[in-house]
């Protein structure tokens, strides 16, 4: 809101105002006097002389009064208390939280990690750089890509960046295909990114099995298509036939991009790059930390070494110093905004470095055996839950013949939204009402079961759902 401005600073030098004591600001009045004397200024106000008088604020900002620490904690406690985050929930839907081992956060809280800047001076950033090199290696192993960058913002924007990269690699092709079974927020982000550019997005639908139709894909493919975007597992929890879809895309000369929003699935599922994905993107939020209302996320992005110079985002590489000691350094930086400026592969600067570190520590604690075990526990729990819920009268598993990882779709006898609303009111969030994403699936709910769920939780879900269906029917 516009407000009156005037020459307040000049008429109201700081020495006459009440100066607050703030614990983050070291300067005493004596300090201030000494510094001013060295500068040759009478008052701090003099230092703002370059700002036109009419722009100077006449009054203090109308902000709530400053809180002391105890008051601050009480206030935030109160806000946090207004969230019912501990409710029993079977939500996944692109934000797939898991139990995060305590050692991860303990390490993240080291000031050397979280108060560090981007590692532009490698000699004093080897901690961050080596950890990111380990991250790139681990994600390369998980995705099958030869090269994985040091992170993008999240899975959705990573997919959008992948489409842009496909547009650069396939310079004369202007169309991008996105499967309808890709998460709607991923698709929406892609559409937004592409919206102002000379690129067009087209949707490819899914069939009755909940997976992308190869026939429809082949009808859409031609020599103007740069890439196809798929999600694995897809937004319906279903597993796509990646090899068949990859083959169709490649035959038409298009790249295949696979988005993985649940990287734990890679403990059980084949690395997408080994099934034909040219670019793999993903959301590492579940590996990196708590779900925290959806952010920060961890954008995963990988491709082949050959295409690495077209990649967005930072890359950490191995290097040697003059004594032959091995170290790590940000490399191939000429792709980036601070060097190429308008011609950069992306405008990204700050990414999700601390989240990448968290994912690295978590994956280190899991190891290959732990990742597989975690994946199997999730899958096993989900299958048991699915069996239990399918037993309920009137409930069936949609896409029953299609394999899934740990997220599946249940079809209810009637509209799902009202049922889920009543269950939520009773303290049970059964899943995502799919009608929000796919109007034709308004009688369906997307249920995600992971390692944190116990048998009793599923029993509660089954009995609650059973009761609601009986009431409605």
């Amino acid at each position: 809101m516009p407000r009156p401005t005037g020459a307040t600073l000049r008429k109201n030098p700081s020495r006459r105002r009440q100066v607050p004591t703030v614990r983050y600001l070291p300067h005493t009045e004596q300090d201030v006097r000494r510094l001013l004397a060295a500068i040759g200024a009478d008052d701090i106000a003099d230092l703002f002389a370059s700002i036109p008088e009419k722009l100077l604020l006449r009054q203090p900002l109308a902000l709530p009064p400053a809180l002391d620490e105890a008051g601050l904690v009480a206030h935030l406690d109160e806000l946090a208390g207004k969230n019912r985050s501990g409710v029993l929930s079977f939500l996944g839907a692109g934000a797939h939280a898991h139990h995060l081992p305590a050692a991860v956060d303990a390490l993240l809280q080291r000031g050397e990690f979280f108060t560090a800047y981007t590692p532009y001076q490698p000699e004093v950033s080897q901690g961050t750089l080596q950890a990111l090199f380990e991250y790139q290696t681990m994600m390369s192993e998980l995705t099958g890509c030869e090269v994985v960058n040091a992170s993008l913002y999240d899975g959705a924007s990573a997919a959008a960046e992948a489409l842009l990269m496909a547009g650069r690699v396939k310079r004369r092709r202007r169309r991008l295909l996105a499967a309808r079974s890709v998460h709607p927020e991923t698709r929406a982000t892609c559409a937004t990114y592409l919206g102002d550019l000379d690129l067009e997005m087209q949707e490819v639908g899914f069939g009755p099995g909940g997976t992308t139709s190869v026939e429809e894909l082949e009808r859409a493919l031609d020599d103007d298509v740069a890439a196809l975007l798929l999600q694995q597992p897809n937004a319906l929890g279903c597993l796509e036939d990646l090899p068949a879809l990859a083959e169709a895309a490649h035959r038409a000369g298009a790249l295949l991009i696979v988005s993985v929003l649940e990287p734990v699935s890679l403990g059980l599922l084949e690395a997408p790059a080994r099934l034909g994905a040219d670019i793999v993107t993903g959301e590492g939020l579940g590996l990196a930390g708590d779900v925290s209302f959806g952010g920060p996320g961890l954008g995963i992005f990988g491709c082949s070494q050959r295409q690495a110079w077209q990649m967005p985002g930072r890359l950490v590489g191995q290097a040697c110093d003059a004594s032959g000691r091995r170290g790590f350094v940000l490399t191939m930086a000429s792709r980036e905004q601070h060097i190429r400026r308008a011609r950069a592969t992306s405008n990204i600067c700050s990414n999700e470095g601390l989240c990448a570190l968290a994912a690295t520590i978590h994956l280190a604690l899991l190891g290959p055996a732990g990742l597989e075990r975690l994946a199997r526990v999730c899958a096993g729990n989900a299958r048991e839950a699915c069996r239990r819920l399918e037993d309920l009268p009137g409930v069936e598993r949609a896409f029953a013949d299609t394999p899934f990882f740990n997220e599946f779709v249940l079809r209810l006898p009637g509209p799902a939204e009202p049922v889920l609303e009543r269950l939520a009111a009773a303290g049970l969030v059964a899943g995502l009402p799919l009608g929000r994403w796919y109007p034709e699936l308004a009688d369906c709910v997307l249920v995600c079961v992971d390692e944190r769920h116990r048998r009793e939780d599923v029993a509660r879900l089954a009995s609650g759902l059973g009761e609601e269906i009986e009431r409605a029917g």
Partner: protein, 512 residues
């Protein structure tokens, strides 16, 4: 690493490390975690699962199932903790020392905010829980937006962008949508030569061509220079205020008016907002769109490269184009509104970097209006103090007072036959992170120094003394400076080889 260490320490640290295995007291080498892997070691604690865990997933067709397990390291928890703890000891951080990076605002990251961001009521909140279960989070976002509006003088904010560059792209896209709505689509964005590289990169991503404006001899834009490139194809001007030289764009109001009259809009990069809190507001300067950086001005941690958060503020005319969803208040209830037909759409999934917002919100609630104003005053005071302290040995790029940051050129260094890079690397030996170097491009061999308000006068004096000491070293023994750093765990790396033959992941086959 301040002066006053035990005698003899200096000599020890300047000795080269002869092998990776050799520790030097508390300075320990550490291989890649993969190199510590021993088959069979386990570091996890997982439940049994209540389903058939062992057979789970066997129903998935073989062709889609994992063939080879990923080669993650096999290590126990103590080894993981030791590994990453050792790595951390090789990092500089704000917690360890001065970090005068220009335009980065490396101020202290308050500890209480770390605790608050970790409250389970925030961390465990799934973004798709029913709105009535998320009222605390939505209220926090709503209040944060109100605070940012008051601080900047803009009408509304989106909290969705995950970083400053993300915010820039969001802002330029909203400008484009606005002009399209006016029926007056245009092709060009004007950007000064002092701009951060993200500015032209973001404009390009929004489908615009970039036209550079030359800053005047005193480092700021003149209306004449703008007039030379302003025409009916100008969609916007993208300015930073204060600019990357630490100077207030004194002609901002007039320039904004010129652009508006020509039918364009004004984007302001708010990275340098730390110089204006409580003193002046971009919204009063004719700015239409502004991104702020929570991880700069608002004290949230840099994390070694993120996560940040880049909320974008707009004037009322641009409100319809904000990304969805937007947080609205109806009575006492907060809700997410995505029924906005003219929105540019989504810049990412969910609602933005919420955990970062919690920290920024807590910071603003603790500082209050007087605290923020004081922070700005002291930031500007500190920068000017370094300006006068250092001008004896470094070439100040532009005479006269600066705001929160000051830029030096390389003239005095050239005379000593050392480079800006050499000076920066020798600063590392003394425990200081160097300032931003070689940016902005308008100053050859630039050193951009932003001390921030959380640094004490003693630290500033130590820094200035160290610079003077290094200049002195360059006179007596320039080779010492040119081969710096000597005291860090590793010396200057061969970045050319690293870029020509990139090794971007560990090679398990043993070839290094």
């Amino acid at each position: 690493m301040s002066p006053g260490w035990p005698p003899g320490w200096e000599r020890k640290l300047s000795e080269p490390v002869d092998s990776d295995a050799g520790a030097r007291g508390l300075v320990r080498p550490e291989p890649l975690l993969f190199e510590r892997s021993v088959p069979g070691r386990r570091g996890y604690s997982l439940p049994e699962g209540f389903g058939d865990t062992a057979a789970a997933g066997d129903d998935i067709p073989r062709g889609l199932r994992r063939g080879e397990p990923p080669r993650l390291p096999e290590v126990d928890e103590p080894a993981v903790v030791r590994h990453f703890t050792r790595l951390s000891t090789w990092n500089h951080g704000i917690d360890l020392g001065f970090y005068p990076l220009g335009s980065c605002t490396m101020k202290y990251n308050p500890r209480v905010n770390e605790r608050l961001a970790r409250l389970p009521g925030f961390t465990r909140l799934h973004p798709y829980l029913p709105e009535e279960f998320c009222q605390g989070a939505l209220e926090l976002m709503y209040q944060l937006e109100r605070l940012l509006c008051e601080i900047t003088g803009l009408a509304r904010f989106t909290l969705q962008p995950a970083a400053g560059a993300h915010g820039e792209l969001t802002g330029v896209k909203m400008i484009r949508a606005c002009l399209r709505r006016r029926g007056d689509a245009r092709r060009k964005v004007l950007i000064p030569d002092t701009a951060h590289g993200t500015n032209p990169a973001s404009s390009k991503l929004a489908g615009y061509d970039v036209v550079e404006i030359t800053s005047g001899p005193d480092g700021i834009l003149t209306p004449q220079a703008v007039a030379q490139v302003l025409d009916e194809q100008t969609a916007a001007i993208m300015i930073t205020n204060p600019n990357t030289l630490g100077l207030f764009e004194t002609h901002i109001a007039e320039i904004a008016e010129m652009v508006h009259r020509a039918g364009g809009l004004v984007y302001c990069d708010g990275a340098n907002l730390n110089s204006l809190l409580g003193v002046a507001r971009p919204g009063d300067m004719g700015i239409d769109v502004l991104q702020v950086n929570l991880h700069k001005t608002f004290s949230t941690p840099h994390g070694g490269g993120g996560p940040g958060s880049g909320p974008v503020g707009v004037v009322a005319e641009l409100e319809p184009f904000l990304p969805v969803p937007v947080v609205e208040k109806s009575g006492e209830r907060f809700r997410l509104d995505d029924d906005r037909p003219e929105s540019i759409g989504r810049m990412k999934a969910f609602y933005g970097n919420f955990a970062v917002m919690v920290r920024a919100y807590a910071y603003l609630r603790e500082m209050g209006a007087a605290g923020l104003r004081r922070a700005t005053e002291l930031a500007v005071l500190n920068a000017n103090y370094l300006r006068v302290r250092l001008r004896r040995v470094l070439e100040v790029a532009y005479p006269g007072p600066c705001l929160h940051e000051v830029v030096f050129g390389e003239k005095t260094l050239q005379e000593l036959d050392i480079t800006t890079l050499d000076l920066a690397k020798r600063l590392l030996d003394y425990g200081f992170h160097p300032p931003t170097i070689y940016f902005p491009l308008v100053v050859h061999g630039a050193l951009m120094v932003e001390p921030t308000e959380t640094e004490s006068p003693e630290t500033l004096d130590e820094f200035a003394e160290t610079i003077e000491r290094i200049i002195d070293e360059a006179r007596r023994d320039p080779e010492l400076v040119r081969t710096a750093p000597q005291r860090t765990p590793i010396g200057r790396l061969d970045e050319v080889a690293a870029a020509r033959k990139p090794v971007l992941r560990h090679d398990f086959s043993g070839g290094e």
